[in-house]
């Protein structure tokens, strides 16, 4: 039992570090300053959203709509930037839109009691639609040079995108592990009825998790658009799958009530190292897909296997 517990808790860290060491020793071009810095930079948007996605999943819900928020928020931010030329205002505007859309998800899930998976699938289409609406169906570019500095400013040789991700991850971790709200999240996802009888306002806790995730997804979208110096309306769901993969491979239970942000972070890097390693070793992308899928299956199977053990 204890071995199982330990491996559940630290397994992903051990695997990630091992993969890192193996790639460093065997693969040319992996352990170079540039490659590592690139990896960090590339993972930043996923990490920003995945930390708060972890919280939503622990509280017993899902949020599919972060893809749409990831698409629509930078379009809104660029609208503001195009109109005013003010970067701060555009970032605040974009994140606020994330808060509003997150609140809408929260309303549908907690007030109308719609299953969160279905609810956020439905709102995704609405949000994607808004994207086309506010961008006039076309690619948008910033008018100022400073918009790209949101993600590209270097501090201590590391990009601001990476710094933003580090700060968001730390904030989310503190929120989850060191505050009353965090405990309420675990309680809500672990046993709603018991949480209610312990005096926890369950709908409120769940609503806050959706709103925070909405803001985080918007921030991730803005960072992404700053990096690519453009934003484009689309119906692209791929962002949420990348985020979910990190959360689930990190061992956060899709049943709710269990999980940790640092494990999500470890899993995100594990997946990034794997991907990077394959590229450096010039493995056919075909095999990359198959192996990625297999890794997810193993992670989820391990989770449900350990749940069964606990009956």
């Amino acid at each position: 039992m204890q071995l199982l517990e330990l491996s559940k808790k630290y397994g992903i860290a051990v695997i990630t570090i091992s993969l890192f060491l193996i790639l460093s020793l065997t693969t040319e071009g992996f352990f170079t300053e540039r490659n590592i810095r690139n990896l960090l930079d590339q993972q930043s948007t996923i990490l920003i959203a995945a930390s708060f996605m972890t919280i939503v999943i622990i509280s017993g819900n899902f949020d599919i709509s972060i893809s749409a928020i990831f698409v629509v928020a930078p379009l809104f931010a660029l609208n503001i930037e195009n109109a005013t030329g003010n970067i701060l205002l555009s970032v605040i505007g974009g994140v606020s839109l994330g808060v509003i859309l997150g609140s809408f998800n929260a309303l549908v899930v907690t007030y109308f009691k719609v299953n969160s998976f279905i609810a956020t699938l439905a709102t995704s289409f609405m949000f994607f639609g808004f994207g086309y609406l506010i961008s006039d169906r076309s690619l948008m570019r910033p008018v100022t040079d400073s918009y790209q500095q949101i993600a590209r400013t270097k501090f201590l040789d590391i990009t601001s995108a990476t710094w933003i991700a580090i700060i968001v991850v730390i904030l989310a971790s503190i929120l989850l592990t060191r505050t009353r709200f965090g405990r309420n999240v675990f309680a809500t996802g672990g046993n709603q009825e018991a949480a209610r009888l312990a005096g926890i306002n369950v709908p409120q806790v769940q609503a806050i998790t959706f709103i925070l995730l909405g803001a985080a997804a918007a921030l991730a979208g803005i960072v992404n658009s700053s990096r690519s110096i453009s934003a484009q309306p689309s119906d692209d769901f791929s962002f949420v799958f990348a985020v979910l993969t990190a959360v689930i491979v990190g061992g956060t239970s899709i049943m709710g009530g269990k999980g940790a942000i640092w494990r999500t972070v470890a899993a995100a890097f594990f997946l990034a190292f794997m991907n990077n390693g394959f590229n450096l070793l010039q493995v056919d992308p075909l095999w990359q897909r198959i192996i990625l899928g297999l890794v997810i299956v193993i992670a989820v199977a391990l989770d449900s296997w350990s749940q069964r053990k606990n009956v």
């Binding site: 009353r180 405990r183 675990f186 009825e193 018991a194 009888l197 312990a198 005096g199 239970s253 009530g257």
Partner: protein
Amino acid sequence: MGRLNITEKNTKALVTFQNVSKSFGATKALIDCNVDFKKGEIHSLVGENGAGKSTLGKIILGAYKLDSGKTYVDGEEVSINSPGQAVKIGLVGISQELSLLSSRTVVDNIAMGREITSGMFVSSKKTKEKVLSVMKHFNLFVNPDAIVGSLSVAEQQKVEILRALNSNARLIVFDEPTARLASNETEQLHSLVKSLADNGTTIVYISHFLDEVLTISNRVTLLRNGKLIRTNLAKDETKKSLIEGMTGKEEGNLFPSIKLIDESSETVLKVENLTRKNEYQDISFEIKKGEIVGLAGLVGSGRSELAHTIFGDKKPDNGAISFCGKKITQSKVSNSINLGMAMVPESRRTQGLFLARSLIENISLPYLGKFLSIYGLDKKQERNTVNEICNKTTVKHSGIDFEVQYLSGGNQQKILFARAAMGKPKLLIADEPTRGVDIGAKKSIYELIAKLSDVGESVLLVSSEIEEIIGMSNRVLVMSRGRLSAQLIGTDINKKTIMEAAFKYN
């Protein structure tokens, strides 16, 4: 409850186990047991939690594989490897938590997996006819077209029994079948079980209720710590002999002495004309400081609903609740907790605990406000407080960071008491606080309740176990069909008065 006319059955054994053992990891659940179940007998298994009775039940049903030992059915050696195989042989179980499809009809449930087909299609007509003929044969009727979810627990249990009979069961294992039944329903179940046995079905009956076991069984098998202590005729056992056999020691007094309450003590809770439509009406009573008030009544009489309303989890349609002299205007659990109420809910697994979380998180959850600092939660202070509380409430554990799912039922129940004790409540509402825990844990929970009353905390004890109500209460309230049918004190508190009041409006 008089003893039914039951004697030893001189029939052949249907199932025989020889030297069977079963371990789960390091835990030996069953050690070298020899037992047989005769055709048409009612054979009870008794023992404390963890004694191995449910394990033995599940082995009969093929849910667990034996580590060693032999199984004989009708004198022939077999090995039962799966529940499916057990059903084929005719060994079927009725579980504690019923396993029915609640949105399907009674017929669908009874015929599940045994629908009659014509060609490749299910013939609903023939299937229903078959089900009706089974009902007729055993003289056991449930509306065949009713949706199972709309039926009472007792009716649902009948559906499960019918399902077993429809699959030509020769042996039925009942695991705590009466834990969720009211006492009139319990008696109906007993006569049903008896008639099944008379028809030749073997009954394996697992129960915590020793009176029940002694009333209906032909033979009783007593287990302790995985060992089979003895198999005996029920008529040769008494409640005392069974308890001594289960615990392995002489029975002391189960209930601690309860402090008398001074008439002039201050009133902690006052409930006036409380009404919730279709649940209960016009309930008025008071609880004094340090008083233990028992709330008795049949399941469905509105007891739990009343308790949840007082705790702020449900909103009353009418009436008023005053707590410590102040009227409660808002039905909100967090509000009630802040005012000094605490609750040990009826079902610890579904309403009480976060099984996958640690003791510390389970215990401190409603009272995290006490540990707030500018750096977030003060975990050191939290640990100290929780450790202290665990000692006070005699929770046995191997560290407060362990997940509560690894604790025994009795200790899990004590976690809920520890949580309540964190708030130093003025009123504790305990709903079925000893359900499903063994006698040792029961005793220490009673002591905990008595200790609370000693330090001036009041307790509202909601319970289906009349003995518990009689043994623990200063005063007893009885509910019948949503109305308060009696308030009993002193020598008026006995089985007869309580039962009469419980059936008053039925």
